[in-house]
Symmetry: C2
Subunit: 87 residues, 2 copies
């Protein structure tokens, strides 16, 4: 399946959440990751995120699309790469 | 169609982009909006955003799903409302 994950977490946990998601998905922008992932891997990723976030303060949203052909992605402006984040 | 829009724009333009998207879609989180929108309205929204952003500095990503049944949304942690942002 294809997933898009966005997060809004306390400053102290941003780096941890970002590194965890980078293990499974591709960084898109800001606090958005996306990519093709199996159900098993997704569940593993979510279980690991659950241990990082504080559930009454942070939010992680995920959008699942079974067939990636059902979703079209377009970019307006600059398409940034993960590396630029850390320059 | 159903769209998810995420943006990463210069600080000075965050408020303008956010207000513009709020005219058309529902705020989800941070810099993420989503909702049901017609093709015409989406094109209008994007044309208006294009006049706000600086195309070699800012990014706006949009994901289109023709049938909202093809996308499943889940939330881990807190589901925030738009109003909370401005408390």
């Amino acid at each position: 399946m294809y997933v898009i994950i966005t997060y809004d977490v306390g400053e102290k946990r941003v780096g941890k959440v970002c590194r965890k998601l980078k293990e499974y998905l591709t960084w898109t922008q800001n606090s958005v990751f996306e990519g093709e992932i199996s159900k098993t891997q997704l569940l593993k990723c979510l279980a690991e995120l659950e241990r990082i976030i504080i559930s009454n303060e942070d939010s992680v949203y995920f959008y699942e699309v079974n067939n990636p052909r059902h979703i079209k992605k377009k970019v307006m402006g600059v398409e940034k790469s993960f590396e630029e984040l850390f320059l």
